[in-house]
């Protein structure tokens, strides 16, 4: 019954073969590249810390400076630049006196509450604004106004409205993160492939089905970009908010430590914040990989 064309036998195996067996060398090169980047990156960090610690070593060994011919090198004081081990000791002390848990709980609460609220509302509003152009026209002036303003400048108002507790910081984190998420999500919806929308319409899809099967998955890459940008804004909001006025929190601890010249403790706070940002970004990358299994792998 099936009339086989003369090209059938030629075209088909040729098409499938490359798929069943991906070129072997591309995979090994990828693996080697990955380990190479890890090794070099790790080595660079280790060398950096050794050099930094070296400054501390010079300081304790030759407090009056080292003379190398005409040049005398005087290591900066510990107040100016504490060595990594000093930072570690400050961190240990911070852990031992128990303040760290209270500070991290407060900062974490501000960050997570504000960020998660921004994620939920940012995605929902972004989808709606991207989809319904009249809503976009209505909200555009507000979004533009707030996005162009560094949200940190709203902090004095938030302190008046919400006090110096966690609420004012949550508000700053929320406003800081939401626009990156909202704008990117809306851009994702607006960049949807018109052909796919036509396919859905042709099969009689309802608006809700279109939204669920085309608009949402189609804008996932944009949403993830927004989430990643939002992390930076959210962290800035927490720390700057606490620097200005707070009772607890990692930022508040840094403000006090800075005002009392405990530079090592300031560095300890800095590493906590950097670590949190890296952890969040890493989690998001894992999420990205899970969502984008369908993307062609770049060579």
């Amino acid at each position: 019954m099936a009339t086989q064309g003369p090209f059938d036998t030629v075209a088909q195996p040729a098409e499938s073969e490359w798929l069943v067996q991906p070129p072997p060398e591309s995979r090994t090169r990828e693996r080697r590249g990955l380990s190479e980047s890890t090794v070099i990156g790790f080595a660079a960090v280790v060398i950096f810390f050794i050099l930094w610690q070296g400054v501390g070593f010079v300081r304790t060994t030759w407090p009056d400076g080292v003379s190398l011919g005409p040049i005398t090198f005087i290591a900066p004081s510990q107040l100016f630049l504490p060595a990594p081990l000093d930072v570690f000791k400050a961190f240990q002390a911070y852990v031992q006196d128990g303040r760290i848990w209270k500070d991290m709980a407060v900062s974490g609460q501000e960050l997570m509450t504000g960020y998660l609220a921004a994620v939920v509302l940012g995605i929902v509003l972004g989808l709606l604004v991207g989809w319904y152009k009249r809503l976009r026209y209505a909200l555009d002036p507000f979004i533009t106004f707030l996005y162009a303003t560094p949200r940190i400048v709203l902090l004095p108002l938030f302190i008046i409205w919400f006090g110096i507790g966690v609420e004012s910081k949550i508000a700053v984190v929320f406003l800081g993160a939401i626009f990156a998420i909202l704008i990117n999500t809306a851009a994702g919806v607006r960049n949807l492939d018109a052909n796919l929308i036509k396919v859905a319409r042709s099969f009689g899809a309802s608006d809700l089905q279109l939204f669920r099967t085309i608009a949402l998955p189609g804008s996932v890459p944009f949403i993830l970009t927004g989430l990643r940008l939002g992390i930076g804004h959210a962290l800035t909001g927490v720390i700057v908010g606490e620097l200005v006025a707070a009772q607890f929190g990692v930022g508040q601890m840094m403000a006090v430590a800075g005002a009392t010249f405990q530079s090592a403790k300031v560095f300890a706070g800095l590493f906590i914040i950097a670590g949190t940002g890296m952890l969040m970004t890493f989690t998001l990358q894992k999420l990205e990989q899970r969502f984008e299994a369908w993307r062609p792998r770049p060579n």
Partner: protein
Amino acid sequence: MLRHSGGDMRATAVKLEARRVAIHYRRQRSGLNLIAVDGVDLRVDEGEFLSIVGPSGCGKTTFLNAVDGLIPIASGSLLLDGNEISSPGPDRAMVFQQPSLLPWRTVTRNVVYGLEMQHRAGRESRETAARLIDLVGLQGFADAWPSELSGGMQQRVNLARALATDPEVLLLDEPFAALDAQTRETMQQELLRIWGATRKTAIFITHDITEAVYLADRVIVFTARPGRIKLDVKIELPRPRDLRLKRDARFIDYERMIWETIREEVIRSESRGQAIA
């Protein structure tokens, strides 16, 4: 005698009927209202394979979109089984020029997409998908991502997706236009095989005359915009057909006749364009 003619009537039942159909098209940028199609009268019988050819921009795709129910007609009437077409429905399915597969769905999940949209996806839709993936010759690719497929393979999925909803009328909008010449001939051959197995009413849009004659029972030539029917010719060539038919003298006669008609139309529209300018 009476019974015989009754049986005859059923065998050639009119599936789709267009009566003085006009379709207007609003240009996005200039806001001008163009008349894309004007006064098209057409009957397509059940189980018939109809090809529509015409110079580019003649409104043949617009007409097909109207049959699918994606765009409204301005006047006249467009009837499917005697009912006015007003929106897309499960009795029609479109094979698009671009494969337009959902890149985040595997081949199987793309094939069942139409069923899902029509709330007809069930336990058996996986089997339907598997059967159709076999039918279009994609055995072993059920779980592949669209990005892993060649253009020809993607177009096979596009076809399987349309067939999955088991439509009564299959609408094909230049489905092979973006393929290279060899893949294209393979796909024509495949389409004939699949059409032979399903015998659905099919409307096939193309600008390739050879393709139109090779596939169809009947070829229609549209005039330059506004599109009207310029020529309506029955292709009386035996089935099943294979690629050798393209060298047959009768085949070449059909091709030449259609080619002359289109050329006349292109020249006419060009001289008219100059007259306006």
